[in-house]
Protein backbone atom coordinates (compact mmCIF):
# COMPACT_ATOMS: atom_id res chain seq x y z
CA UNK A 1 0.00 0.00 0.00
CA UNK A 2 1.40 3.41 -0.97
CA UNK A 3 2.32 5.73 1.90
CA UNK A 4 0.05 8.71 1.86
CA UNK A 5 -0.81 11.70 4.03
CA UNK A 6 -4.18 13.39 3.65
CA UNK A 7 -4.50 16.89 5.11
CA UNK A 8 -7.98 18.39 5.30
CA UNK A 9 -8.67 22.05 6.09
CA UNK A 10 -12.17 22.99 7.19
CA UNK A 11 -13.91 26.36 7.20
CA UNK A 12 -13.50 26.64 10.97
CA UNK A 13 -9.74 26.50 10.43
CA UNK A 14 -9.32 22.98 11.83
CA UNK A 15 -6.70 20.73 10.29
CA UNK A 16 -7.05 16.94 10.16
CA UNK A 17 -3.97 15.06 9.03
CA UNK A 18 -4.24 11.32 8.39
CA UNK A 19 -1.43 8.95 7.50
CA UNK A 20 -2.07 5.69 5.66
CA UNK A 21 0.17 2.86 4.49
CA UNK A 22 2.48 3.13 7.50
CA UNK A 23 3.21 0.69 10.33
CA UNK A 24 2.67 1.99 13.88
CA UNK A 25 6.24 3.08 14.39
CA UNK A 26 6.91 4.52 10.95
CA UNK A 27 3.73 6.61 11.22
CA UNK A 28 5.10 8.04 14.45
CA UNK A 29 8.39 8.83 12.75
CA UNK A 30 6.67 10.38 9.73
CA UNK A 31 4.50 12.61 11.96
CA UNK A 32 7.53 13.63 14.01
CA UNK A 33 9.49 14.45 10.86
CA UNK A 34 6.67 16.57 9.44
CA UNK A 35 6.10 18.36 12.75
CA UNK A 36 9.77 19.30 12.93
CA UNK A 37 9.79 20.64 9.38
CA UNK A 38 6.63 22.64 10.04
CA UNK A 39 8.17 24.04 13.20
CA UNK A 40 11.19 25.20 11.18
CA UNK A 41 8.73 27.23 9.07
CA UNK A 42 7.11 28.74 12.15
CA UNK A 43 4.07 26.43 12.20
CA UNK A 44 3.43 24.78 15.55
CA UNK A 45 0.56 22.30 15.84
CA UNK A 46 -1.86 21.87 18.75
CA UNK A 47 -3.14 18.55 19.99
CA UNK A 48 -6.72 19.84 19.96
CA UNK A 49 -6.47 21.00 16.37
CA UNK A 50 -4.50 18.24 14.65
CA UNK A 51 -5.39 14.58 14.81
CA UNK A 52 -2.96 12.15 13.27
CA UNK A 53 -4.32 8.66 12.79
CA UNK A 54 -2.64 5.61 11.35
CA UNK A 55 -5.37 4.18 9.14
CA UNK A 56 -3.58 0.85 8.84
CA UNK A 57 -4.05 0.20 12.56
CA UNK A 58 -6.78 2.70 13.50
CA UNK A 59 -4.48 3.57 16.37
CA UNK A 60 -4.53 7.28 17.19
CA UNK A 61 -2.14 7.14 20.12
CA UNK A 62 1.19 6.57 18.48
CA UNK A 63 0.87 9.29 15.87
CA UNK A 64 -0.90 11.75 18.16
CA UNK A 65 2.10 12.05 20.45
CA UNK A 66 3.99 14.38 18.15
CA UNK A 67 1.33 17.06 17.70
CA UNK A 68 2.15 20.47 19.16
CA UNK A 69 0.11 23.63 18.52
CA UNK A 70 -1.11 25.91 15.73
CA UNK A 71 -0.57 29.49 16.80
CA UNK A 72 -3.36 31.75 15.63
CA UNK A 73 -2.45 34.97 17.46
Amino acid sequence: MAKKETITLSTDGAINSEFSGYTDKSCFNAAADISKQLEDLGILTQVNDVKIKDLSTQDTKNCAIQTQKIERK
Partner: protein, 148 residues
Amino acid sequence: MSHISSQTVSSLNGVHPMVLAEGIKVACQLLALSGIQVTDFVYDWSGNKTQSHNKVQIICALGAEGAVKDSKFGGLGLGVSDGKLTIVGDFYYDWQKAQAKKIQAQLETVLGGACYFAARALIATAKGQKTNVTVNQETQQLQLVVEN
Protein backbone atom coordinates in the same frame (compact mmCIF):
# COMPACT_ATOMS: atom_id res chain seq x y z
CA MET B 1 -9.49 61.00 -3.19
CA SER B 2 -8.41 57.90 -1.33
CA HIS B 3 -8.17 56.92 2.29
CA ILE B 4 -6.47 53.61 1.64
CA SER B 5 -4.24 52.62 4.50
CA SER B 6 -2.21 49.59 5.40
CA GLN B 7 -1.62 48.18 8.85
CA THR B 8 0.32 45.17 10.04
CA VAL B 9 -1.38 42.62 12.25
CA SER B 10 0.36 40.56 14.89
CA SER B 11 -1.35 37.28 14.00
CA LEU B 12 1.01 34.45 13.26
CA ASN B 13 4.22 36.36 13.95
CA GLY B 14 7.12 33.99 13.46
CA VAL B 15 5.64 32.16 10.48
CA HIS B 16 8.00 32.14 7.50
CA PRO B 17 6.94 35.01 5.13
CA MET B 18 6.66 32.65 2.15
CA VAL B 19 4.40 30.35 4.16
CA LEU B 20 2.34 33.32 5.32
CA ALA B 21 1.87 34.53 1.74
CA GLU B 22 0.80 31.08 0.55
CA GLY B 23 -1.34 30.66 3.65
CA ILE B 24 -3.19 33.87 2.80
CA LYS B 25 -4.01 32.45 -0.64
CA VAL B 26 -5.29 29.22 0.93
CA ALA B 27 -7.33 31.15 3.49
CA CYS B 28 -8.98 33.22 0.76
CA GLN B 29 -9.73 30.07 -1.23
CA LEU B 30 -11.32 28.53 1.86
CA LEU B 31 -13.36 31.63 2.71
CA ALA B 32 -14.60 31.74 -0.88
CA LEU B 33 -16.30 28.39 -0.15
CA SER B 34 -18.31 30.19 2.53
CA GLY B 35 -19.52 32.67 -0.08
CA ILE B 36 -17.13 35.55 0.59
CA GLN B 37 -16.16 37.46 -2.57
CA VAL B 38 -12.44 37.08 -3.32
CA THR B 39 -10.51 39.43 -5.64
CA ASP B 40 -6.88 40.41 -6.17
CA PHE B 41 -7.65 44.10 -5.61
CA VAL B 42 -9.54 46.45 -3.34
CA TYR B 43 -11.65 49.39 -4.43
CA ASP B 44 -10.68 52.86 -3.30
CA TRP B 45 -12.92 55.87 -2.57
CA SER B 46 -13.63 56.51 -6.24
CA GLY B 47 -13.98 52.89 -7.26
CA ASN B 48 -10.50 52.42 -8.72
CA LYS B 49 -9.11 48.91 -8.38
CA THR B 50 -5.95 48.99 -6.29
CA GLN B 51 -3.52 46.07 -6.17
CA SER B 52 -0.84 47.56 -3.95
CA HIS B 53 -0.30 50.27 -1.37
CA ASN B 54 2.97 51.61 0.04
CA LYS B 55 4.87 48.75 -1.62
CA VAL B 56 2.59 46.13 -0.11
CA GLN B 57 1.27 43.88 -2.85
CA ILE B 58 -2.27 42.69 -2.27
CA ILE B 59 -2.20 38.89 -2.43
CA CYS B 60 -5.97 38.65 -2.26
CA ALA B 61 -8.86 40.72 -0.94
CA LEU B 62 -12.09 39.75 0.76
CA GLY B 63 -15.57 41.18 0.35
CA ALA B 64 -14.82 43.86 -2.27
CA GLU B 65 -18.06 45.36 -3.56
CA GLY B 66 -17.39 48.76 -5.09
CA ALA B 67 -16.49 52.43 -4.59
CA VAL B 68 -16.21 53.46 -0.95
CA LYS B 69 -17.86 56.83 -1.69
CA ASP B 70 -20.95 54.97 -2.86
CA SER B 71 -21.23 53.38 0.57
CA LYS B 72 -19.98 50.03 -0.65
CA PHE B 73 -17.32 47.94 1.05
CA GLY B 74 -14.02 48.42 -0.77
CA GLY B 75 -12.59 45.10 0.34
CA LEU B 76 -10.16 43.82 2.97
CA GLY B 77 -6.84 43.51 1.16
CA LEU B 78 -4.24 41.07 2.48
CA GLY B 79 -0.51 41.21 1.99
CA VAL B 80 2.79 40.56 3.71
CA SER B 81 5.11 43.36 4.82
CA ASP B 82 8.29 42.84 6.86
CA GLY B 83 7.20 39.26 7.31
CA LYS B 84 3.88 40.25 8.88
CA LEU B 85 0.26 40.00 7.83
CA THR B 86 -0.77 43.40 6.48
CA ILE B 87 -4.32 44.65 5.96
CA VAL B 88 -4.90 47.12 3.15
CA GLY B 89 -8.11 48.97 2.47
CA ASP B 90 -10.17 52.14 2.49
CA PHE B 91 -12.46 51.94 5.51
CA TYR B 92 -13.88 55.44 5.68
CA TYR B 93 -17.29 55.02 7.27
CA ASP B 94 -17.80 53.46 10.68
CA TRP B 95 -19.82 50.59 9.23
CA GLN B 96 -16.96 49.85 6.84
CA LYS B 97 -14.52 49.75 9.77
CA ALA B 98 -16.87 47.32 11.53
CA GLN B 99 -17.18 45.18 8.39
CA ALA B 100 -13.40 45.09 8.06
CA LYS B 101 -13.07 43.91 11.67
CA LYS B 102 -15.66 41.20 11.11
CA ILE B 103 -13.95 39.87 7.99
CA GLN B 104 -10.55 40.08 9.67
CA ALA B 105 -11.90 37.92 12.51
CA GLN B 106 -13.13 35.34 9.98
CA LEU B 107 -9.73 35.37 8.32
CA GLU B 108 -7.83 34.94 11.57
CA THR B 109 -9.99 31.93 12.46
CA VAL B 110 -8.75 30.03 9.42
CA LEU B 111 -5.31 31.52 8.81
CA GLY B 112 -3.44 29.23 11.22
CA GLY B 113 -4.82 26.12 9.55
CA ALA B 114 -4.34 27.67 6.11
CA CYS B 115 -0.66 28.30 6.85
CA TYR B 116 -0.28 24.70 8.04
CA PHE B 117 -1.87 23.55 4.77
CA ALA B 118 0.37 25.80 2.68
CA ALA B 119 3.52 24.84 4.62
CA ARG B 120 2.78 21.13 4.23
CA ALA B 121 2.36 21.59 0.47
CA LEU B 122 5.61 23.57 0.23
CA ILE B 123 7.51 20.86 2.14
CA ALA B 124 6.10 18.16 -0.12
CA THR B 125 6.98 20.11 -3.27
CA ALA B 126 10.52 20.75 -2.02
CA LYS B 127 10.92 17.01 -1.41
CA GLY B 128 9.65 16.17 -4.88
CA GLN B 129 6.62 14.33 -3.49
CA LYS B 130 3.45 13.95 -5.49
CA THR B 131 0.71 16.31 -4.29
CA ASN B 132 -2.91 16.81 -5.21
CA VAL B 133 -5.21 19.56 -3.95
CA THR B 134 -8.96 19.24 -4.22
CA VAL B 135 -11.82 21.51 -3.19
CA ASN B 136 -14.90 19.89 -1.73
CA GLN B 137 -17.77 22.37 -2.16
CA GLU B 138 -20.20 20.09 -0.37
CA THR B 139 -18.24 19.76 2.85
CA GLN B 140 -16.56 23.16 2.35
CA GLN B 141 -13.10 21.72 2.83
CA LEU B 142 -9.75 21.85 1.07
CA GLN B 143 -7.85 18.60 0.86
CA LEU B 144 -4.16 18.02 0.17
CA VAL B 145 -2.92 14.51 -0.50
CA VAL B 146 0.83 13.90 -0.32
CA GLU B 147 2.21 10.63 -1.66
CA ASN B 148 5.71 9.23 -1.35
